[in-house]
Amino acid sequence: MTNEEDFFKVYSNIPIEERNNVVVVVNKQPISWQLAYQEIKNKTELGKKILKMLGELNII
């Protein structure tokens, strides 16, 4: 399973309200689950950084 797939699988478990909450900070910028989803889905550079960080933190 790729990191992206890992993320989407975890994301599907997140309660709706929790999705507005911060999951990671990249370059001092707080990123919510929801924003992470958008960036990863759209395969942006930020999305790649988020995936890397979430993997290192063992959140995905």
Partner: protein, 217 residues
């Protein structure tokens, strides 16, 4: 000769956190009484080292509940007096099932007490977090958030009082914690609910049982 089950409670209340623990555990004392057990309840300043150790020695309780501050090696009573210390007297808990509602005491004291003859030791391997409703002032009775944190603890001990074994009691408590965490994550009844969830989850992770998990009273 039929032996009566003896249950000992240590319930100091000399700060706001302990006051909450004491208030919520009151129903457990009542349950123990109504179950026909020999119930020894030491609260406030009577939850001190001299009283508790003397009672353990003389009454040989089958089941003990400690409310109190703690750390990996100790459980405290009134005014933070150390009652049980893994390096001094872990053997006092021998032949009992103990539930310690105090920070981290299951990390070192728990296994040490079992090594020295405790039947089981149930407690937390990390700090026990207690959430509080900011609108309830210091009134535990109206505190809907504290209830979510302490209800699982009550379920654990009431399960033991009702004859369930250690493993089942812990499972029931953990299931209730999960239920309450899900409630905090999804309820719209108060906007700050979701922010308490991680702290209750910490309690879920920290709750463990050492010793004989099949033991019951």
């Amino acid at each position: 000769m039929i032996s009566v089950v003896c249950v000992l409670f240590s319930r100091p209340d000399d700060d706001i956190t302990l006051n909450y623990l004491s208030y919520f555990s009151k129903e457990l004392v009542e349950l123990s009484n109504s179950s026909g057990f020999k119930t020894i309840n030491k609260e406030s300043k009577k939850a001190n080292k001299k009283n508790i150790l003397s009672l353990i020695k003389n009454q040989c309780p089958n089941l003990i509940m400690f409310n109190g501050h703690g750390s990996p090696k100790i459980i405290c009573g009134h005014k933070r007096e150390i009652i049980v210390n893994s390096e001094e007297n872990p053997e006092v808990l021998k032949n009992s099932i103990t539930y310690s509602l105090s920070c981290a005491s299951a990390l070192v004291l728990g296994p040490k007490s079992v090594e020295k003859g405790a039947i089981s030791f149930i407690g937390y391997e990390s700090d026990f977090a207690l959430g509080k409703d900011p609108e309830s002032e210091a009134s535990p009775r109206h505190d809907k958030i504290a209830k979510l944190f302490l209800e699982p603890s009550n379920i654990l001990f009431s399960s033991l009082l009702n004859g369930y074994n250690v493993q089942t009691a812990v499972e029931k408590a953990k299931n209730k914690m999960k239920e309450n965490i899900w409630y905090l994550n999804t309820t719209k009844s108060f906007p700050e609910a979701i922010y308490y969830a991680p702290f209750l989850f910490g309690n879920y992770l920290g709750l463990v049982a050492h010793g004989d998990k099949n033991a019951s009273i």
